[in-house]
Structure formats: C-alpha cells, structure tokens
Symmetry: C2
Subunit: 195 residues, 2 copies
C-alpha cells in the first residue's frame, strides 16, 4: 500500500504478468504449429489413394490388364492414424479456444492438470498411430519373407510416399505437442518458485 | 520464533512433509508397477518363439513335412517393442534410484521438469511400440486381402497369443507411467498452492 513497498510489489507483479504473457504466446504458437502438423497429417493420409494398372498376361498380342487401387482404408493402421490425428487436431483447437477463457475457471491450477493430462494422452495416441504406420510402411516397402508378405510399394510408389509424408507430419505434430507440454510444466514450476 | 506462530508454522511444515511423503510413496509404488509391467512385456516378447511342422504334400504314403519357426525377430516392430520396453524398464529403474538421491540436487524444480519430460518421452515411445505390434498382430491374425498378405496366426497360435500378452503388459505399463506423470504434476501443482 503506497510507498516503496507498494511500488516494488507492483513492479514484481508487472514483471510476472509480462513473463506469463510471453509464456502464453509461446504455448499458443507451439500449439498452433502442432495443430497445423496434425491437420496436415490427417488430410494427407485421408486423401491417399493410387490406382495402378498392371499387365498380368498376354493372350495373342493383347495384354490382359487389371487395375488395382490402393486406398488408405485398406490398412486398419491407416484408419486409426486418420482418427488419431483428427482427434489431436480437435484437441489442439479446443485447447487453443480454452486458453482464451477467463482464468477464474482455473480451480487452483486444476485446469493446468487437465490440460497436461489430455496433452499426454494425445501424445501417446498420436505416437502410437504414427509408429504403427511407420512399421506398416516398412512392411509395404520391404515385405517380410518369413511371413511371406510381399512388398507392394514397387507398384504403388506414390501411395507409399504420401503415407510417409503423413507420418512425418504426424511426428512433427508430436514434437510440438511435447514442447507445449514441457513449456506448460516449466511455467508451473516457475510460478511455483516465483510465488 | 517461538510462541504460537512458531508452533503453527511447525505444524504446517509437518503436515506438508507428511503429505509429500505420501505422494513420494505413491509415485514409488506406481513406478514399481510400471517397471514390472514393462519388464514383463520385454521378457514375454523376447522369449516369443514357436516351431510348427506342416505336412505340405504326400508322396506315396509318406507325408512331406516342413518345419517353420516363428521368432519375434522376424518382425521389425517386435524388435522395436523389445528395445522400447527394455529402455522403459531401465528408465523406471533409474528414476526409482534417483528418487533416493538427496533433494539438494533439485535445482529449483529442474529435476522435476527433467523427470516429467523423460516420462513423457518414454510413454510416447512405448505407446508407439505397443500400437505397432497391435496392428502387426491384427495383420497376422486376419491378413490383408488388399495387399495379399495372408494370416499366419492359424499356424502359430501360441506365438500370436504370447505377442498379445506382451502387448497387454506394455499397455498396462503405459497406464502406470501415465499415472506417475499425473501424480507428479499434481504434486507440483499442490506445492504451488501450498507455498
């Protein structure tokens, strides 16, 4: 209240306020990047489709052709990938929206705990989906002689490349989500030592 | 110091101390359970091997037999699974060991941040490995007619079941790791509001 003490307290509170604002902007930017990455992964995978025409035999001089289409829905891992990245995109959108909601619903930092838990779960699910299609892609590229599963990427190269692109985007999304989570925890820790 | 204020402060500090002890014991127990789960997943998968003898043809009255062995090393996803769960086990062991190290190396809660980050990364990696073998197992059980990959679990049933068991253990490990992480963050939050 007035005097030197009051000014100091005001200065300190202003300093904390500026620092919190910086952190909030940092988290918003990181989350926006994660949102773009997971949205890109969802779209790139959901639009993954390639049609290939093979000449399977020749009768006289006429080649017999069959046309096969590789779609992302043909592999369950890809379906889970699209769902997981879609959910992660939605999660990021909701968290972005919630960060503009007034702090009075904070309930002694409970909001922070919920956000951190949801972030962690999203990371786990998206990481699972991305790793699953990584190994499915490896199988599609190289086959597995032990199980007599043949490679299919020699015929559907663009399909496989597009899947790899989606996987890469998803991993980038996970990286940004992890950064969001680390910054979040760091902020809580620093609030802890500042107060 | 002394008088009523001192007693109250002492009481409060004792209360916090007891509460912290409870939290530490809870985290230790949860981490121990996670350790057991990931260690079990590693062992069950690493010991997964089944030999099966097929009758492929009959020459006269003599059946022609071939013997095939399914080993976990035949699928890259399984190798990654063993490594990931092994690393998670090691991580849990190290964290258990570190929790008995004196608090003076805490560096203003930085230790907490590092533990939370490592936990998060372990969750992501183990979740990826478990989901990858989940989809590999689905493929082995049902095959994929689009890619002309045949199921193999009809011949190697025990092999597939053992893989599923390892997967289940791994998911339980992830669950306990998530609980450790949530309790950790909750503790930091409460320290924040108590101080």
């Amino acid at each position: 209240m007035g005097g030197e003490g009051g000014e100091k307290a005001e200065e300190k509170s202003g300093c904390i306020w500026r620092w919190r604002l910086k952190m909030v902007v940092l988290i918003l930017m990181l989350r926006l990047l994660a949102l773009f990455a997971t949205a890109a992964a969802t779209l790139v995978m959901a639009l993954n489709k390639q049609t290939h025409t093979f000449a399977v035999a020749t009768i006289g001089n006429t080649p017999v052709k069959i046309t096969l289409t590789a779609k992302f829905q043909h592999t369950p891992a890809n379906v889970m990938f699209v769902i997981a990245n879609g959910v992660a995109t939605l999660h990021n959108l909701l968290m972005l929206a919630f960060s503009f909601v007034n702090d009075k619903y904070n309930l002694k930092g409970l909001r922070f705990l919920i956000v951190a838990t949801l972030d962690m779960m999203t990371i786990a699910v998206v990481s699972g989906a991305a790793t699953a299609i990584a190994f499915m892609g490896e199988l599609a590229r190289n086959g597995n002689s032990h199980a007599r599963w043949n490679k299919i990427c020699d015929n559907f190269e663009r399909y496989c490349d597009q899947g790899s692109g989606a996987m890469l985007a998803s991993y980038i999304g996970i990286l940004f989500l992890m950064l969001v989570n680390i910054v979040n925890i760091y902020e809580l820790r620093r609030l802890n030592s500042v107060n």
